[in-house]
């Protein structure tokens, strides 16, 4: 595993510092990026030591997680309803499927027009991305519950409410959590795009700003930070899922 990273870093170093391949001309070598990243007094103003870095991270995290939370709060119940109740599904699913293909980013202009301020549009766009993925996977989760469980519940005299609470929700959980991981990943993707276009502060904005000021090490720092945050966020969701579904550990 270390070999892989080493090879990639070596290739990067080769292309930029040593061979100076033309296309890589503007890309800074890894050594420079790392030096800048960990310098107490960075040349371009952002490093592990500057509060600005953490301010950007905080904004991005706040937006991503807020949008994600909203998507879960709205998306999971909706997904369950659509998956479980056939009449409701017949009315609402076509509408959902019509709106879903519209890329989250395509909502940006509309979001800016509809919602006040700078934060809500970015959060809204991120929310859209996470929302549809959540709804879809939740409804898939409900539909993947083996019919026998429903039949057993009927024999056992469960009311509709009992079935919802004791069969549908727990039964759909595994799929829901897969959906949440996907939604979390999508949140970050949409968030960055939203920040690049409409935000002030945040990692997406940091990258775009660095780009316009030709501060390339900062761009790369931003990218890698995003990668780390995205990976960590998905892992967090996975962890929560594992804890909530102790029965799956066997």
């Amino acid at each position: 595993m270390v070999l892989g990273f080493a090879l990639v870093l070596a290739a990067w170093h080769l292309m930029t510092a040593v061979l100076e391949v033309p296309m890589f001309k503007k890309i800074t070598p890894p050594a420079v990026v790392l030096r800048e990243w960990f310098k107490p007094d960075p040349f371009f103003g952002v490093s592990v030591y500057t509060p600005l870095y953490y301010s950007h991270i905080a904004y991005s995290v706040y937006r991503a997680y807020t949008a994600f939370a909203l998507a879960v709060l709205l998306g999971v119940p909706l997904g369950i309803l659509i998956g479980w109740n056939r009449t409701f599904r017949e009315f609402t699913f076509p509408l959902v499927e019509t709106l879903r293909p519209i890329p989250p980013l395509a909502w940006v202009p509309l979001a800016i027009l509809m919602l006040p301020g700078t934060e809500p549009p970015v959060i809204f766009v991120t929310f859209i991305a996470a929302f549809f993925a959540t709804v879809l996977n939740t409804l898939l989760g409900v539909q993947s519950i083996d019919r026998s469980y429903f039949r057993a519940a009927e024999c056992l005299g469960f009311t509709r409410r009992d079935i919802l609470v004791h069969v549908v929700v727990p039964g759909a959980m595994p799929h829901v959590f897969i959906g949440l991981q996907i939604a979390m990943g999508l949140s970050w993707v949409a968030l960055v795009a939203g920040e690049m276009i409409a935000g002030k502060r945040g990692l997406g904005y940091m990258i775009y700003d660095a780009y316009s000021m030709v501060q390339i090490p900062t761009i790369i720092m931003g990218m890698l930070t995003l990668g780390l945050l995205g990976y960590f966020s998905s892992a967090l969701v996975r962890y929560v899922g594992r804890r909530l579904m102790a029965w799956r550990a066997f």
Partner: protein
């Protein structure tokens, strides 16, 4: 023979309650939108009513600028997507088949994967000589990562018994790969391809919005952004619908190709 089944299906769909309910749901949405627009809710102050949007749609699809934008976006999507698939499938298969390859390069892959495609844009602009290549490369990244993950998943869930059966019949490694692994993984390959296609349209919009300056070629995303900047709001919605529709159609196309290529799957 196929036609009879189709017409039967059509007749069934036309009389199905589900279809009318679905249309009712969409219809209700449109009615509420129209009403809210008329009442001039603060929320929707700038959002035009459905009938205005409809007007805009009808007008726009008659302009050549629209279809040229569609073509440009579609071309970028197709190129980035195809390269993503062409590179993604072999690498996904390699990850699945070779322990060494996976151990070496998968961590790097997984580290780069969460980086949103759009975060690659500034770097790509610096890297690639032309803006077109930048947009296509960003699209490529989007489809590439998705395809690899899905193909890998397909290989890993492959029933080992198929491989063993082949080996016990005297197949060489290459034969096992081409005659067992690849066909068995093909459903996953096509699912990955369809998902990637949907994602690609989302990325093309973003990529075009960010890099629409200096590119000279106006795709749908750029058109939408220009409409926003120019304050022509019905056009924004027209563009949104177009992009959504395009994504849907392209994904459906991939699904169909996939369904046809894996028709051996029509079991039970």
């Amino acid at each position: 023979m196929r036609l009879a089944a189709w017409s039967r299906g059509l007749r069934r769909a036309a009389t199905s309650a589900a279809l009318w309910r679905g249309l009712a749901g969409i219809g209700l949405f449109l009615v509420v939108w129209e009403a809210a627009s008329l009442v001039k809710l603060p929320f929707l102050r700038h959002v035009p009513a459905p009938h205005i949007v409809l007007q805009s749609v009808v007008e726009t699809i008659q302009t050549s600028a629209y279809w040229s934008a569609v073509y440009i976006s579609a071309k970028r999507v197709a190129m980035g997507y195809v390269i993503g698939v062409l590179l993604g499938v072999p690498i996904g298969l390699a990850f699945g088949v070779s322990r060494l390859f996976k151990d070496t390069f998968f961590p790097v892959f997984e580290t780069l994967r969460p980086i949103p495609p759009l975060a690659w844009v500034p770097l790509s602009i610096l890297f690639w000589p032309t803006m077109e290549m930048t947009v296509v490369s960003v699209i490529f990244l989007g489809s590439f990562f998705t395809v690899v993950i899905n193909v890998l998943g397909g290989v890993e869930t492959l029933d080992i018994r198929y491989v063993r059966a082949a080996v016990s019949m005297g197949a060489t490694s290459w034969q096992v790969f081409w005659k067992v692994v690849v066909p068995a993984t093909s459903p996953s390959i096509f699912i990955g391809a369809a998902i990637a296609m949907g994602l690609t349209w989302e990325i093309v919009v973003a990529a075009e919005m960010v890099s629409s300056i200096g590119s000279g070629q106006t795709g749908l995303g750029a058109m939408m952004w220009q409409a926003y900047v120019g304050g022509v709001i019905p056009l924004i919605i027209t563009a949104m619908i177009s992009i959504g529709l395009a994504g849907l159609l392209f994904s459906a196309l991939i699904w169909q190709i996939g369904a046809y290529a894996t028709r051996w799957r029509r079991v039970t």
